[in-house]
Every structure is written in C-alpha cells, then in structure tokens.
C-alpha cells in the first residue's frame, strides 16, 4: 500500500503546533489563578493574625513565626509551580508521542 509521507508529516506538524499553543495557554492561566488565590489567602491570614495579636491571643513571637511560615509557603508554592511546569513539558512530550502514533495509525490503517 503506498504511503503519503508528506500528508503524514503535514498533519503531524499542524497537530504539534496546536498542542504547543493549548499546553502553554492552559499553564499560564493555571499559574495566574494559583498566584491570585495565594495572595487573597495571605491577605486574610495577615488580617486574622493582626486581630489575634491585638486581643493578645497571639504573642509577638507567635505572630513573627506565622509571618515567616508564610514566607516558607511562598517558597513552597514556587517549587510547586516549577514542578507543574515540568509536568506540562512532559505532558506535551507524551501528547506529541500519542499524536505520532494516532496519526500514523489513522493514515496507514494497520
């Protein structure tokens, strides 16, 4: 059976471009949402800790410890985002592999 390699590669090229666009745009949207959620949560915590400090439920030392714990959480969030970005890269690679397999299967009908 003759195989049209040009058609296969053209279909693969279009598929890979589409995948790259979707992967990147989804990742940017997710990262923005995560950052915004973290900022909102941080604001609420700082307000609550300040109230607890004023009514002496927390000591100054407690308050400082909690503020520093928030710094550690921000560092954790950066590591998590970096990990998620790495996962996206691997998902992209896996999608390319599936695209190659599916395209060849569909055009060659093995």
């Amino acid at each position: 059976m003759p195989i049209d390699f040009n058609a296969i590669f053209e279909q693969l090229k279009n598929g890979v471009i589409g995948l790259a666009k979707t992967t990147l745009s989804n990742y940017v949207n997710d990262a923005k949402t995560d950052a915004q959620n973290m900022l909102n949560a941080m604001k609420e915590k700082l307000q609550r800790w300040t109230s607890l400090l004023i009514d002496k439920s927390l000591t100054t030392e407690d308050f400082e410890w909690l503020v520093n714990s928030q710094k550690d959480l921000v560092e954790m969030a950066c590591l998590k985002e970096a990990g998620l970005a790495a996962i996206r890269i691997d998902q992209f690679k896996a999608s390319v592999m599936n695209l190659v397999v599916d395209t060849i299967f569909s055009m060659v009908k093995i």
């Binding site: 609550r48 439920s57 998590k80 060849i104 060659v108």
Partner: protein, 155 residues
C-alpha cells in the same frame, strides 16, 4: 534501507517512543508517595493538636511522626527527576524554617503552645503538605501500552 513501509513507520514510532520515554523532565506519579503525603499530613495535624501539653509528655508520638517524615523524605530523594518534591520536603521538615520542623522545635523550646497559635500554625503546615500532595497528584500516570503493542506486532 527498509523493505516495507510498515518497517519505516515502526522505526519512526520506536524512535519517538525512545526519545520521549528517556528524557522525562520530572518523575511520574507514584501512588506510594501520594499515600505517604496524605497520611503524614493527618499525623502531623494530630500531633500538633497536642502541643498544649508539655513536650516531654508527647515525645514518643512526636518522634514517631518525625521519623516517618524522614523515611518519606529518603524515599523521595531516591526517586529520579524528583528535585522539586525533595526541596519541598526539606522546607517542611527543617527545624530552622517555620513549618512542621520549626513548629516541633518551638514546642520543645516553649514546652507548651497556645491553642490560638496551634490552630494558625496547623493551617500553614497543612497547606505545605497539600502542596506536596497536589504536585504528586498532577504527575503523569505513564501508560505506553499503545506503542508497545504496535511495536510488538510489527517487528
């Protein structure tokens, strides 16, 4: 070079499979690591609740949790391409930072801690564990069955 078109396609598929399976950027999903992360979060929250009592009276329970966290960390350290998770565990367990390790250090220094402080610290430490677990849960569950079946039937 190739006697039939399917041999050529098999070569393309085999190369693609090799290329993408050999150069992963981050480790794949690991059920054991995920289960450990969720279980340790519950244990850490439970022991933190007891910080209104003197440190010495809870020492056995504290050591049990910290030892299990060390074991989980060792497991993560030996998984390939797992740098981000390892760094996250290092922050959580470090006594000189302000998450679980730092909480235990503070408990030891002060002997008892206030309920208000414990409640707020639990939120912080809980979020840290959640981040580790969330990252693990989003890792890829690899399944190469389609490619391996194609390769085995076209050799």
């Amino acid at each position: 070079m190739f006697r039939k078109p399917t041999a050529y396609l098999t070569a393309i598929l085999f190369s693609t499979f090799l290329l993408f399976s050999q150069c992963r950027t981050i480790s794949g999903f690991d059920q054991y690591a995920y289960t450990q992360g969720t279980a340790l979060k519950v244990d850490a929250m439970n022991i933190m609740d007891k910080a209104t009592k003197p440190y010495a009276s809870q020492q056995a329970g504290i050591e049990d949790v910290t030892t299990r966290i060390e074991k989980a960390y060792e497991y993560e350290k030996h998984r390939p391409q797992n740098l981000f998770t390892v760094k996250m565990w290092e922050i959580v367990k470090n006594p000189d930072r302000n998450l679980f390790g730092g909480f235990i250090k503070r408990w030891k220094e002060k002997d008892t801690l206030s309920t208000a402080f414990i409640n707020e610290a639990k939120i912080q430490v809980g979020e840290a564990f959640d981040m580790i677990v969330e990252l693990e849960s989003k890792k890829i569950k690899y399944n190469d069955s389609k490619v391996t079946s194609f390769l085995s039937t076209n050799q």
